[in-house]
């Protein structure tokens, strides 16, 4: 580090421009005001650990529900046609079992993290120590399959997860 001692000394001779008195006054006014837990302009958002973006999740689940409903209607149609034909004899009772024909069975859920970002230290409500905020962007995919026909249904949607990791101060 001796190689740089002269350069470091030169750098230290450079002095940052002094702050304005107005800035000090503004800080004084801000400190005098009661703290606001969360302001619209607050730069640090306060989210619970493991919280997710419900917009994405709701969107995805709605799409999944719609697709499952469509699949169910499509599978029920032949059965209703048979009921109208068999008018003289009572129709066989439909037994609903977990493995009933035409039912889609969940076969898997995958989560792919395609972006992770360390957003640095932030404060959270009610906690003195800071926490490190990590933001993950993921794509979640759910799959269903119909055992008899092999037909499969897959719903994929983006999601975002924010994780607050405790850090130890020094």
């Amino acid at each position: 580090m001796n190689d740089f001692s002269e350069l470091e000394a030169e750098l230290r001779k450079l002095r940052p421009i002094a702050i304005s008195d107005e800035l000090t006054a503004r800080v004084e006014r801000a400190l005098a005001e009661p703290p606001i837990s969360s302001t619209p302009t607050s730069a640090v958002s306060r989210r619970k650990p493991g919280s997710i973006d419900w917009r994405f999740l709701g969107f995805g689940l709605a799409a999944a529900a719609a697709l499952m409903l469509l699949a169910k209607v499509g599978n029920d149609r032949p059965a209703s046609n048979q009921e109208t034909v068999a008018t003289l004899t009572p129709p066989p009772a439909r037994v609903i079992t977990p493995a009933s024909p035409g039912k889609f069975i969940p076969t898997g859920v995958t989560q792919v993290v395609y972006h992770a970002r360390d957003e640095g230290l932030v404060f959270t409500d009610g906690v003195e120590n800071p926490v490190r905020r990590l933001r993950y962007r993921k794509r979640e995919t759910m799959q269903w399959q119909q055992p008899e026909t092999g037909a499969s249904l897959r719903v994929s949607y983006p999601s975002e997860e924010v994780v607050l990791m405790p850090v130890s101060g020094q």
């Binding site: 740089f4 470091e8 750098l11 230290r12 001779k13 450079l14 940052p16 957003e119």
Partner: protein, 164 residues
């Protein structure tokens, strides 16, 4: 309930650290006014939580976090800033009082450093943070912080040779 810190405490702390904090914040914004806004918000938030000048790494981390959030919040502005950073790494050159031409050349050389090296130099030289503190602020190891510092000084020394 003791909710208000004494006037002398916060003011002494602020007056001591504010110039270095503004210098630090200037790395992400183009104007001193924006930098002062960031420092104001960061210091108020820090002081309300800590009420002590200790843990300066947290103060700098707060400045950095607010500056980055500010850029993220305004997407157009963030794009503009990102473009500016891509075009040249000296858009947020630190602001100093110059006594002579050689000091100006030195300040310009600091401004030309890559941002990840410049922020380490700013924290180390003008704010006297330890490498451990710098590592905490940036989320890197202190060895990495020290390494970036050495790279920065090497680059400065190399760039200043023609001016000497």
């Amino acid at each position: 309930m003791e909710n208000v810190v004494t006037h002398e405490d916060w003011k002494a702390c602020f007056c001591q650290h504010a110039p270095g904090l503004v210098l630090f914040a200037r790395q992400w914004v183009r104007t001193p006014a924006d930098a002062e806004d960031i420092v104001q918000e960061a210091f108020v938030r820090f002081w309300r939580k800590q009420r002590s000048p200790e843990n300066r790494a947290l103060l700098f981390a707060t400045v950095r976090s607010i500056a980055l959030d500010l850029l993220r919040r305004d997407s157009r502005r963030a794009r503009r800033e990102a473009d500016a950073f891509l075009e040249t790494e000296q858009t947020a050159a630190p602001s100093f009082d110059f006594d002579n031409g050689s000091q100006r050349a030195l300040a310009d050389a600091v401004g030309r450093l890559p941002r990840e090296q410049r922020e380490v130099v700013v924290m180390k030289i003008w704010n006297e943070l330890t490498f451990a503190d710098i590592g905490t602020v940036l989320g890197i190891s202190q060895n990495t912080a020290a390494s970036r510092y050495r790279y920065a000084l090497s680059a400065l020394k190399r760039n200043l040779v023609p001016h000497e």
